[in-house]
């Protein structure tokens, strides 16, 4: 058993990191799904690119946590811009998401071509950002994922009551004296943090699935938020472990897409066969 573990040490390391991330994304995805912000994840993950590249341009280093800070700043910037536009115009929400997504990403591409002139080379950074590569998760990445997950669960544990109430009834939480703005900021901040951490694992296009799919599947099986979150974490974990396993066993199957396909299959199965809200 131990020799088997040692022989597949990298695989287990990657599986551990991916499953931990799957749990975190699944749990946070529940809030996003219930607040009808599923596509916000897609927008934030694109909006993080200019921040990551700008950080690279400023520091010339590929330290994961430095790039992470850049991504988080740009992601929060994106959400902030979105809120400004929402407050001042009558534009529909999804048009605003599309604008933030494409304009920030375009800005990122411009910065990226500037970065390519630096001899350190940044093509790898872009590829990792676009498609992710769980297979190259390093121990340092795992430490970052662990720390962020722990932090997110701690915040959720401490603010559980407030977050629940806010998700279902934002007016109630204000009427009993809490600041809706603070809770909103906390939830959005956690979302941005998760997304930016996840970018290097699954990539920008597929990040939104890890937020939406486990929560959407869990929603079909239960009507309680607590059990929905546990189920979503479980589904997220299962999809990541199975996805990593499939891509390790079969040649030329990238990890991110295989995780996405498995997660979506779980949703389709839940949609069709869950006893609570089934279609068939």
């Amino acid at each position: 058993m131990i020799s088997f573990f040692m022989a597949h040490y990298t695989l287990f390391l990657v599986m551990y990191g991916a499953s931990l991330f799957g749990i975190t994304a699944g749990v946070l995805g529940c809030f996003a799904l219930l607040r009808q912000q599923s596509l916000l994840g897609d927008a934030i993950s694109h909006a993080a690119l200019p921040g990551i590249v700008a950080m690279f341009l400023l520091t010339h280093s590929k330290e994961p946590w430095l790039l992470l800070i850049g991504g988080v700043v740009a992601g929060i910037g994106g959400v902030w811009c979105m809120n400004i536009v929402v407050a001042h115009t009558k534009l529909k929400k999804d048009a605003i998401l599309g604008i933030i997504l494409s304009v920030f990403f375009g800005l990122g591409l411009v910065l990226m071509t500037v970065a390519q002139k630096i001899p350190v080379g940044s093509q790898a950074v872009l590829n990792k950002f676009l498609f992710g590569s769980v297979a190259t998760l390093l121990p340092v990445d795992i430490v970052i994922i662990q720390a962020i997950s722990l932090f997110i669960f701690l915040v959720l544990f401490l603010l559980w009551k407030e977050c629940c109430a806010y998700v279902y009834d934002p007016l109630f939480i204000q009427s009993v004296g809490y600041s809706a703005c603070v809770i909103e900021c906390v939830l959005t901040g956690l979302l941005v943090l998760t997304i930016v951490v996840g970018l290097q694992a699954v990539g920008v296009v597929l990040m939104s699935t890890l937020l939406i799919a486990p929560a959407a599947a869990a929603r079909q099986w239960t009507v309680r938020l607590s059990s929905m979150m546990i189920l979503a974490g479980f589904f997220g974990c299962i999809s990541c472990v199975a996805g990593v396993y499939v891509s390790a066993c079969v040649d030329h199957i990238p990890t991110g897409p295989s995780i996405v396909i498995i997660a979506t299959m779980i949703v389709l199965f839940s949609l069709l066969f869950s006893p609570v809200r089934r279609i068939v």
Binding site: L39, L97, V103, H252, V260
Partner: protein
């Protein structure tokens, strides 16, 4: 001054931006703007599977494959929304990554020696457009992409010209459209077909992210400045063309990505429109 080569790139960029704006305006008005993001990613699956079948990158079958993938995305998304089990945004965000992932897996598994990679579909490369020429009976007829994008532009323009009234009432008042005998669902799918065709025709020139930028941002900016549809269409075209021109020259002089620079430029125009509309609202 600019050379012929650069002129061709600029021309393709301008024609692309006008072609994108036309379906984009109705997507923004209907509140389904993110479908352009979904479709422009999902067409990867259609392009890849058709390419693996015919093994040629210039085949018209690629466009048909991509069109099918785009429509399939719309149909699957609509099926989930109609079942009422998930909200619209979750349904959109669930289906297109699935299609995209299958496309990526097909490329990595079966197409490793071909001139097709995911970067190309996502990012495009406007600078390479003049090198792929359309040669008919031995004469050079200009860049291949210019003809594809030009045909799309003409088709979109004709569709809007002939079905303007129908598009308008199905966009603003579905119930009235039903009573008047126009099927809102039919025109919704027409719009989606138009979006898919435009996304396919422009993907190798500008990539799917810029398709989203050009479809949504100029129209959203115009929406802030006017509330009449003809004015909105006209203003969006003007903003899109200005963004392509300024974006191209910015990219040219700074030596950066053309597509990225045009996308950023649409953002600059949007911010301008936002400031103008906020100031106007304050004064009024």
């Amino acid at each position: 001054m600019i050379s012929l080569l650069q002129g061709e790139i600029l021309l393709v960029a301008i024609v692309t931006s006008i072609a994108c704006v036309m379906p984009g305006a109705f997507l923004v008005l209907r509140g389904v703007a993110m479908m352009s993001d979904a479709i422009s990613h999902a067409i990867l699956l259609g392009i890849v599977s058709m390419f693996l079948w015919v093994q040629k990158l210039e085949s018209p079958l690629l466009i048909i494959g991509a069109l099918c993938a785009g429509l399939l995305t719309v149909i699957c998304t609509e099926m989930i929304i109609v079942s009422k089990r998930l909200k619209k945004d979750a349904a959109i965000g669930l289906i297109f990554p699935l299609f995209f992932s299958i496309g990526v897996i097909l490329i990595t598994r079966y197409g490793r020696n071909i001139h097709l990679d995911v970067d190309m579909v996502l990012l495009g490369e406007l600078a390479f457009v003049p090198f792929n020429r359309l040669v008919l009976w031995g004469t050079d007829c200009g860049p291949y992409a210019l003809w594809v994008v030009g045909a799309t532009l003409i088709m979109n323009a004709l569709f809007i010209k002939f079905f303007y009234k129908e598009l308008l009432i199905t966009t603003f008042d579905e119930t009235y459209a039903l009573f008047a005998g126009f099927s809102p669902i039919f025109f919704y799918y027409c719009l989606m077909i138009m979006t898919s065709i435009t996304a396919v025709a422009t993907f190798d020139a500008v990539g799917s992210i810029m398709v989203v930028a050009l479809m949504i941002t100029p129209c959203a900016a115009a929406y802030l400045l006017t509330d009449r549809v003809p004015a909105l269409l006209g203003l969006s075209v003007v903003i899109a063309v200005l963004s392509s021109v300024f974006g191209y020259f910015f990219a040219f002089y700074m030596d950066v990505s053309i597509a990225g620079s045009i996308a950023s430029m649409t953002g600059v125009f949007f911010v301008g429109a936002l400031i103008k509309s906020v100031v106007l609202n304050k004064l009024a």
